[in-house]
């Protein structure tokens, strides 16, 4: 703006820009600070925590087999990458496999439930029972009965992950606008058309909220199942690495595996948030920016 002001004062025909008053400037600055701060502050807090962690280890002379310094954890992460990456891959396979089955199963069951009241009455209690029984209690049984380790792990992770999708989608399918339902009836829509053009789109925000929860839960389910299975060898995941490292008091590797699990969880969450945003940004209230 200063360029325009000093540059050409002779041309007075141009209307001068209305100067922003102090209040507006303050508000604009606050908005800018908030936009930057949203990212910078959490990163700064994380960095500060890591530094503090490092300093505490040095000041208190904590031995690395009790609490390794962050630098050592990072070194271990790189040094053991060949082992950890295989474990990470195995855990990811179970996590996303379970999430996929949970999504398909949860969605399918929800559709089935809303098509027939009797099916819902018959099976919904069992979905609840599966949900409320702690997975750690059922996992040993499942792993005994199921021959394939991968299948056993998948089933465990699926049980944890499918319920939020099922219950959210059922709620969503049932909350289609009543006037719109009447409209569909008036125009003689078939059951399938009502599902496809009305109920499924209405359920979309609910389904996506369920998916967001299920993404995190499928990772938790996979890790818990791995702990119970406690297997070493080709199928072992990050949880097995943590177990094994704990037997050997290999604290740096435990931390390295833990960090990988956390990062996976964060990535899943961000991916789900992005998917949800992309699908809803055009129309749903949750995705709209409000003018204050």
């Amino acid at each position: 703006m200063s360029v325009a002001m000093t540059g050409d004062r002779g041309v007075s025909a141009q209307p001068e820009a209305i100067p922003l008053d102090a209040e507006e400037l303050k508000r604009a600055r606050a908005a800018k600070i908030e936009a930057v701060g949203r990212w910078v502050i959490p990163i700064f807090v994380l960095a500060a925590t890591v530094v503090l962690w490092d300093r505490v280890c040095v000041w208190k002379e904590v031995p690395h087999y009790i609490l390794p310094r962050p630098g050592l954890v990072f070194q271990t992460l790189l040094a053991d990458w060949s082992i950890l990456s295989i474990a990470l891959l195995n855990t990811l396979k179970i996590t996303f496999g379970a999430l996929f089955i949970a999504t398909a199963g949860g969605l399918g069951l929800a559709i089935l439930f809303t098509q027939s009241k009797w099916i819902e009455i018959s099976f919904f209690p069992y979905a609840v029972i599966l949900q409320v029984t702690p997975i750690i209690a059922i996992a040993p049984l499942i792993l005994i009965y199921v021959d394939s380790l991968t299948a056993g792990l998948l089933i465990c992770a699926w049980i944890v992950a499918f319920f939020p999708i099922l219950s959210n989608t059922t709620l969503g399918l049932n909350s289609a606008d009543h006037n719109l339902q009447n409209l569909f009836r008036l125009y003689g829509a078939s059951r399938w058309q009502t599902l496809r053009y009305l109920r499924l789109p209405s359920a979309m925000p609910y389904f996506l909220a369920g998916l967001k929860i299920a993404g995190g839960l499928s990772l938790i389910g996979a890790i818990v199942a791995e702990f119970v299975a406690g297997s070493a060898g080709s199928g072992s995941g990050l949880a097995n690495q943590i177990l094994e490292a704990s037997y050997r008091l290999n604290m740096p590797r435990m931390y390295a595996a833990l960090i990988l699990i956390s990062f996976t969880g964060i990535l899943i969450f961000l991916t789900m948030t992005l998917i949800s945003h992309l699908l809803l940004r055009k129309w749903h209230e949750s995705a709209l920016k409000r003018e204050v």
Partner: protein
Amino acid sequence: MTAMVEKKMQETPAQSAPIISLKGVSKTFSNGTVALNNMSLDIRQGEFVSLLGPSGCGKSTALRIVTNLTGPTSGKVEWPQERANQKEHELSFVFQEPTLMPWATVFANVWLPLRLKGLSRKDAEDRVMEALQMVGLDQFAKSYPRELSGGMKMRVSIARALVTKPKVLLMDEPFAALDEITRFKLNNDILNLWETFGWTVIFVTHSVFESVYLSNRIVVMAARPGRVVNDMPIDAPYPRDESFRTSSVYAGFCRDVSGALHAAMGSGEEH
């Protein structure tokens, strides 16, 4: 009342055969409320009929029974001009709310009735755009409902009703939630479209002024139990416009209809 008798009766609607015939229709809800008591009404082709009454007089229920969204407890609705085996009536319904699908564009919302009949986007495009043009929204085909004002949403809703080229248009207090300026504008639009297409319209409202402005026949209803108490012709000539809205003839009709409505409400409270 005398002003009304002196007016020349409009010939066409009164003489033609009924298109919808309610015969002794009653509706009692499961909680025991009598929503409608023995309502008989003949709607003739080309009429613009307003069902006018206080809330709880069963006017919306009557409309829902006509559309078959709910069945009568006793009595029946006949469509004398239709084939006996005709499954769907050629009618469209405009709700009090715009009732648009928020996830779909304006185009897709108007396309819906045709889509449900199996028309592809390509086959439906001309008719959808034509309907949007009639309500002046062809520029907004790609917009989403949330980007539109209340009046524009209502127009989309009307375009969706138009797109099937119905014979009968049922409107359930369609403009009740709109501001007066928008409402006047849409009143005129509806009248123009009605004159162009020669629909039969049943219009539910609780506004005396709106019903007089629009209709050539007002059915006054009373509550507890919901019933018809008066059937008044409004035989002012069409086209009606702003000059009609400010004329003494209009004021006279409003006075008459208001009187009938108040009499109906008074008699309702005695019970």
